[in-house]
């Protein structure tokens, strides 16, 4: 298994921590991992992205220009990363952020209404965990329990009472993700 992921969206959407949580989940599952953020002159409301690699083998390049999976949470990110997805790869997008539908027909495309779901759950901060849930549904590369263990490492201890809520968010994400285009 070697999964090369890019996660992109607005600053403040939890894009960087999504990558970290997945990587920590990978560490808990004895995988090799690498996480690299865009650390340009980004600001709140600007675009942010990170690449996360989770692999059974040692990772050579932490820098990618093609991806197995792109998770995009806004239109600029879709514009930037849709073309970089490997043929047969996976695009996951959050429907609220997207004004132009993806154009590729040689990849799997999934959509998730994570923002609406987070409002239903009365906590928009768990938006990114809903997306992670969706991702793990269509790419079951990690056990949920390992992702939760990873979350325990990323979250400061004073927030550990929120872990059951995050677990619920992952579960909801698994339920609500749907295919827009599925390759045979």
């Amino acid at each position: 298994m070697n999964e090369e992921i890019v996660i992109a969206g607005f600053g403040g959407q939890g894009v960087l921590s999504m990558g970290q949580i997945l990587c920590y989940g990978g560490v808990m599952q004895n995988k090799e991992v690498s996480w690299f953020p865009s650390y340009g002159p980004e600001m709140r409301g600007g675009t942010a992205n990170c690449t996360a690699i989770i692999s059974d083998e040692k990772i050579s390049s932490p820098i990618l220009n093609t991806y197995d999976t792109a998770i995009v949470l806004n239109q600029p990110s879709m514009d930037k990363f849709e073309d970089g997805i490997k043929p047969g790869g996976m695009l996951i997008y959050e429907i609220n952020g997207i004004t132009r539908k993806p154009k590729r027909d040689d990849i799997n495309i999934c959509q998730i209404a994570a923002y609406d779901e987070s409002i239903k759950m009365k906590n928009t901060k768990i938006f990114n965990m809903i997306v992670i849930g969706g991702f793990l549904k269509v790419k079951p590369i990690l056990e949920i329990e390992n992702v939760i263990k990873g979350l325990e490492k990323v979250l400061p201890e004073r927030y550990h009472d929120l872990i059951p809520l995050n677990e619920e968010a992952i579960r909801r994400g698994k339920e609500i993700i749907s295919y827009g285009h599925k390759l045979n």
Binding site: Q20, W35, F36, Y39, I63, N65
Partner: protein, 355 residues
């Protein structure tokens, strides 16, 4: 089981310095390495090991604080990124001239000038050929992973004290910012060893110790230079480190260091899949440079491509090692741009295969 963590390169570096038993860190923030001082401040090692953490008023002040601490025989470290490292050059030349141990970290960003905050390898010449004045050398370690960053902090202090010479860890924004799995070594206690060269108060019956880089008599200064040169020959003999990948049957060779070494490794794997027998050498010490292994491979391969995030710096050292026997080409991206593996493969095909 050893302690396994997922850490940013910069944070891991700071943690490693604490665990290496460092006595002091002096620094001044600059992107992309500010997490180093932030981590130190948050960890507050003074409470645990007694290590002093101090944000100086400038990079120049920081390197001179290092000079002072080193003069007392203490393990001192400073870090910065390219423009800040330029400011430290006078201090580095003095410390090398006074033959004192210290560790300096450069999390390189694109230049010249203030340049960009994105990663680069454009400070190779400065690090390896001596950015300050006078005939001196830094021992230069080039980590390619967060794990190597941690290991090299420990090694850097060992080498600095073994040779009483400044050691530079030449890293870049990629390794500083990325997170990887890392195994941390056990805490090494701070040492209270009193070195006979350290200025820690004159003992009765002993001469006072003078630390200086100034010799007004040229005869004396020449002796200093000869002593330094003898030391550098020892370093060249003992401390070369490199990694090789698939060189046994290689017809072509890639040479790349640090983060670029890893990207190039992926390009090498892609080239192999296309049927080109490419091997790779990744220098882990840039000074001393792994001359012998490159000489050895020169007899076997048809050409060498160096890949660097600069306009062509290490390529000069590879050409010196090869002495014109085979073509040595360079491929680089610069100004904060990062080459991709397929770009490197394309460059290789264009330069050597004729694509």
């Amino acid at each position: 089981m050893k302690e396994l963590r997922l850490m940013k390169g910069n944070e891991a570096l700071a943690e490693a310095a604490i665990r290496a038993g460092a006595d002091a860190y002096f620094g001044y923030p600059i992107t992309p390495q500010s997490e180093i001082i932030e981590y130190f401040m948050a960890e507050n090692p003074e409470e645990k090991t007694g290590m002093v953490i101090l944000q100086a008023e400038s990079e120049i002040a920081a390197i001179n604080m290092v000079y002072g601490a080193a003069g007392c025989g203490k393990k001192a470290i400073t870090s910065s990124s390219s423009p800040g490292i330029s400011l430290k050059q006078e201090g580095l030349s003095y410390i090398a001239g006074a033959e004192l141990p210290c560790v300096v970290v450069n999390i390189t960003r694109g230049g010249p000038g203030l340049g960009t905050i994105q990663p680069s390898q454009s400070d190779y010449f400065q690090a390896v050929k001596g950015g300050g004045h006078g005939d001196y050398k830094l021992i230069v370690l080039a980590p390619a992973t967060v794990q190597e960053t941690v290991d090299y902090v420990k090694l850097a202090f060992e080498l600095a004290f073994k040779y009483r010479n400044p050691v530079m860890i030449l890293s870049d924004g990629i390794i500083g910012q990325m997170m990887e799995k890392v195994e941390l070594f056990e805490q090494i206690p701070r040492s209270d060893k009193e070195y006979d060269w350290a200025t820690i108060g004159k003992k009765p019956g002993k001469d006072h110790v003078i630390i200086t880089s100034l010799q007004l008599q040229p005869e004396e200064q020449e002796k200093v230079n000869l002593r330094l040169q003898a030391k550098y020959r020892e370093v060249e003999k003992n401390e070369v480190m490199y990694k090789t990948y698939d060189i046994e049957d290689a017809e072509y060779l890639f040479v790349a260091y640090g983060s670029c070494g890893r990207i190039t490794q992926k390009a090498m794997e892609m080239a192999r899949k296309k049927g080109y027998k490419v091997g790779q050498i990744r220098p882990q010490t840039l000074y001393p440079f792994p001359v012998e292994i490159i000489k050895k491979v020169t007899g076997q391969v048809k050409g060498i491509l160096t890949v660097e995030m600069n306009t062509g710096q290490m390529v000069e050292d590879v050409r010196l090692a090869v002495s014109g026997k085979i073509p040595v080409e360079h491929y680089g991206r610069f100004g904060g741009m990062i080459p991709s593996p397929d770009e490197i493969l394309n460059a290789f095909e264009q330069k050597f295969i004729g694509g």
